[in-house]
C-alpha cells in the first residue's frame, strides 16, 4: 500500500516537474492561438489568422516572426492580383511541438484534477 502511495507521489512529482520543460515559445497565448489555428488547416494566410486570433497586425507579425525563427511555421510571401499575400503553414517541427505541448498540458491538468483543493 505504502509502495503504491510512493509510486503515485513520484508520478505526480515527475509530471509537475514537466512544467519546467514546457515549450515557452508555444506557451504564450498569442503564439498558442496562432499554432492552434494553423494546426486545423493545411495552410492559411495572414488575414485568416488575424480574424481568427483577434490579434493586431503588429502583434501577429511579431509572433509569426518568432515562430518562423524557431522553425515552427513556414512563411511564403507572394503577390496575388498585384497585392502582397502572406501564406503561413505549420512545419512538421511546429506540429510536433504543438502536440507535445498539448500532451504535456493535458498531463499536468489531469494531475491537478487529482490534487486536493488549494494545491
Amino acid at each position: 500500500m505504502k509502495e503504491l502511495e510512493n509510486q503515485g507521489k513520484k508520478q505526480t512529482t515527475d509530471s509537475l516537474s514537466e512544467i519546467m520543460n514546457i515549450d515557452r515559445l508555444v506557451h504564450s497565448p498569442a503564439r498558442l492561438s496562432i499554432l492552434t489555428y494553423l494546426s486545423v488547416v493545411e495552410e492559411g494566410d495572414a488575414v485568416y489568422l488575424l480574424n481568427q486570433t483577434g490579434l493586431t497586425w503588429g502583434n501577429l507579425s511579431a509572433n509569426v516572426t518568432r515562430l518562423q525563427e524557431a522553425g515552427y511555421i513556414e512563411v511564403v510571401k507572394e503577390f496575388k492580383d498585384k497585392k502582397p499575400h502572406t501564406l503561413l503553414k505549420l512545419t512538421d517541427r511546429g506540429r510536433k511541438a504543438f502536440h507535445d505541448y498539448q500532451n504535456k498540458m493535458k498531463g499536468l491538468l489531469d494531475i491537478k484534477g487529482h490534487l486536493p483543493r488549494g494545491t
Binding site: E43, A46, V47
Partner: protein, 205 residues
C-alpha cells in the same frame, strides 16, 4: 486541448467561411427559379420551356453570388486550404445531391410525361423528399445544422403551396408561396451580407 477540441475549432473555422449569407442566397435563388418556372408554366408556357426560360436568371444570380464570395467575402476572411479530411468530406458532398437530383429528374420526367400521374401529389412529395435529402446531405457534409431547417422549409413549401391552392382558389397560389419563400431567403442573405460587411473590413495590408 484534445482532438475533439481541435475538431470543434476546425469545424468553427470551416463554417465561418460560409458567412455573408451565401447559403441563404443560394437557397433563395433555387426557390426563385422554381417559383418563376411554376409561374410561367401556369401562364401558358410548357413545363420544360418555363424551366429553360428561368434557368438563365438563376445562373446569372448564382454567378453574382460566386463573384461576391470571391471578391468581397473571401478577401475579408482570408484564404485557407483545409486539411485533406475536410476536402475528402467536401468531395462526398457532390455525390449524394447529384445522385438524388438525377433520381428526382427521372421521377419528375415520368410525372411530366405521364398525364394520368401529373395531378397526383406524389410528384410534389417526391420533389420535397429530393429537397430534404439534398439539404440534409449538405448539412451533414458541411457540418451546418441550419441546413436541416432550410431543407425542411424548402421541402414543405411545395406541399404547402399546393394545399393553399385548394383553400385559396387561385392558380398562382403555388408560385406565390414559392416566390415568397425565395424572397424571405434572399432578404435574410442581404441582412447577413450587410452584417458581415460591418463586422469585417478589407485588410489594408
Amino acid at each position: 486541448m484534445d482532438t475533439s477540441d481541435q475538431k470543434k475549432i476546425e469545424r468553427r473555422v470551416f463554417t465561418s467561411f460560409f458567412q455573408g449569407g451565401i447559403i441563404e442566397a443560394f437557397t433563395g435563388i433555387i426557390l426563385l427559379q422554381l417559383g418563376l418556372s411554376a409561374l410561367f408554366s401556369r401562364s401558358g408556357f410548357g413545363d420544360w420551356q418555363s424551366a429553360l426560360l428561368t434557368l438563365p436568371i438563376a445562373l446569372i444570380l448564382l454567378i453574382v453570388v460566386f463573384l461576391v464570395r470571391r471578391f468581397v467575402i473571401i478577401p475579408r476572411l482570408g484564404r485557407v486550404k483545409f486539411l485533406p479530411e475536410r476536402r475528402r468530406k467536401l468531395s462526398k458532398l457532390i455525390i449524394v445531391p447529384t445522385l438524388t437530383l438525377i433520381a428526382g429528374a427521372i421521377v419528375g420526367y415520368i410525372f411530366a410525361e405521364n398525364a394520368s400521374l401529373r395531378h397526383i401529389f406524389v410528384g410534389l412529395i417526391s420533389f420535397s423528399l429530393v429537397s430534404i435529402i439534398v439539404f440534409s446531405a449538405a448539412a451533414y457534409f458541411l457540418d451546418m445544422k441550419r441546413l436541416y431547417v432550410y431543407g425542411a422549409i424548402v421541402g414543405l413549401v411545395f406541399p404547402l403551396g399546393k394545399y393553399l391552392e385548394t383553400v385559396i382558389i387561385s392558380r398562382n397560389t403555388l408560385p406565390a408561396t414559392i416566390l415568397l419563400t425565395a424572397f424571405v431567403f434572399l432578404s435574410i442573405a442581404i441582412v447577413f451580407l450587410v452584417a458581415f460587411l460591418r463586422k469585417y473590413h478589407e485588410p489594408g495590408v
